[in-house]
């Protein structure tokens, strides 16, 4: 095995580079229904992997298994090469895995800073009081760092647009996720300009050295941001593609199963 070089800088298909998150032969059943069967999946630091598939292909189940909402029935999850057990969302966040849900999970009545620190508020030293100023300053820093275009941080987020809300959810993941960020359909409800902004944010997450997983239906999304495309079909691996060489119709064929070809090398 070649020497592991953690500073390879990112792009996919580095043979021998140990993935940040690795799932092997993962199985998940809901009663009689097999939602995932022997699924292999991996993502490395500084890489964006698109997870695609039709409805019912098992994308959401896989995300839930990684995010800790559902426990897997079989197979193994490794983080930085170490086998881990993810039984709750707390376990996932403790491992540095953050999820941006499709419905964003923001509190409309709270301001940007409060949403970024939701459930993980900072306190002043030796006091039960909130460190509001410290949190605001850190929130400012992360938002400037990601160049997420947000107006003042002390407005309730109900006053913000869909793209701005998505930016808050992504910034929250960037603030807390030290290893992996999962984004579930991040552009589902967005306009053209806002979608471009989200692509930009996703690339910035990657450039910060995070392993990024984007779940999407949208081929334009997938080819715009992904370094690698993983296709699931009926709960099984159905191919893997390099967006630089693959054509969208090949990926679509793998998703629908209309053609036997698969890029799995």
């Amino acid at each position: 095995m070649p020497a592991v070089t953690p500073e390879t800088g990112g792009r996919a298909f580095e043979p021998g580079l140990r993935p940040t998150l690795e799932l092997s032969r993962v199985t998940k059943r809901y009663g009689q229904v097999a939602a995932l069967t022997d699924v292999d999946f991996s993502v490395s630091a500084g890489e964006v992997v698109a997870l695609v598939g039709d409805n019912g292909a098992g994308k959401s189940t896989l995300v839930k298994a990684i995010a800790g909402t559902h426990r897997i029935d079989g197979g193994e999850i490794r983080v930085d090469g170490h086998p881990v057990s993810i039984g709750s969302p707390k376990d996932a966040t403790a491992l540095g895995i953050e999820t941006v849900y499709q419905d964003l999970a923001l509190c409309d009545n709270l301001d940007v800073t409060a949403n970024l620190f939701l459930g993980r508020e900072r306190r002043r030293a030796k006091s039960a009081l909130l460190d509001s100023e410290g949190m605001e300053s850190q929130a400012k820093a992360i938002i400037a760092d990601l160049a997420a275009h947000l107006p003042t941080l002390d407005k309730p987020v109900s006053a913000l647009s869909g793209g701005q809300r998505q930016a808050i959810a992504v910034s929250r993941a960037a603030l807390w996720g030290s290893r992996v960020v999962l984004l579930d359909e991040p552009t589902a409800a967005l306009g053209v300009a806002q979608t471009a902004m989200v692509y930009d944010l996703v690339r910035k997450l990657r450039d910060r050295g995070l392993a990024v997983v984007v779940i999407s239906h949208n081929m334009a999304d997938v080819f715009a941001v992904a370094d690698r495309i993983v296709v699931l079909r009926l709960g099984r691996n159905a191919g893997e593609f390099d967006p630089l060489t693959a054509r969208p119709d090949q990926v679509v064929a793998a998703i629908t199963g209309s053609d036997a070809i698969g890029g799995a090398a």
């Binding site: 509190c107 709270l110 508020e121 605001e136 300053s137 107006p151 913000l160």
Partner: protein, 385 residues
Amino acid sequence: MRALLPTARNASVYTVVIGLAIVWIVFQLLNDNYLSARNLSNLLLQIAVLGTLAIGMVMVLVLGEIDLSVGAIAGVSAATLAILITQQGAPAWVAILAALAVGAAIGLLHGTIITAFGIPSFILTLAGLLVWQGVQLAAVGDGGQIPIRDEFVRAIASTYVTPAFGWVLAALVVLGAAAVRVVTRRRRIRNGLDVPPVSNEVVAVAATAVFVGVVTWVLNSYFGIPWVFVLVLALMLGCTVLLGGTSFGRHMYAIGGNREAARRAGIRVKRTTIIVFVLISAIAALAGIIEASRQFSASNALGGGTLQLNAIAAAVIGGTSLFGGRGRIYHALLGALVVGSVQNGLDLLGQPAAIKNIATGVILVIAVVVDALGRRRRIARGATD
């Protein structure tokens, strides 16, 4: 105390303050005695119980829940107090602690049932209202009331701070407000955040000083600041810090705003809900103690009638949303002042209870409509941003 001052961020406060000013001017024109020191002092005594209940109500409303049983809890707590003192000969402090503990225990029961079975708080506390009113009737017994002769308990709602000490308290409030501003300002500068010009801060502290000074002067020109008002303000201060300054309070707002998001963020929704019900019930018990002190007895009617509905009305009139996630503790005092001012004014004009109820109901509708219009404007503005 800083929270008492309207800020640019909270425009709805102006609406309430303007409404209160209109009420005061109208009643003063109808009756010269309305704004006398004596009547204003009475007003504060009259709204002590309502304001206390409304403080608890703001907390459950922020959480997105409601409590219809606070009046009955106040009744049970007052009965506990009176039985322990009058029938068991317990010292006042033991009886007071026991009454508060009974309230807290009722809240623990409510919160546990609500969270364990996912029952709407509206229904559970409606049932609680019936149950605790029954318990109150049984506890007070056939006499209809239990007199309280203990001097300390009787003093709670009927004694005044000496004028000199009143000024000391006023000075402490102003110094406290100034200290909060200085500390906040220093912390913002240390964290590299922008700060308002010093002149703004000075003006704000000066305004607080003038306001507190006028209130103290008016009250001192009668008997002084009622102790019970000091008690209510202290409770307000504590609850304001809890809601605005701690992660527990932040979690309350989060749960009221988006329960599912709060849960996913790792906030312990059930635990928080139970604690809030313990708090509101303990606060209701405190209101019961204050009312028993005012009446020198615990009657089977204490906490009944329209009291708890007025507490909800006061919280909403003050600016707290019925739909969760929005509300401040000072809304309780503002709303109680509006409700109390109208009822006091109508009393002064010799109007019957019928008119008082109708007037309170109409004001509640006006408050909710003003709030709805304001929210629509905010949403419209937000959408064009």
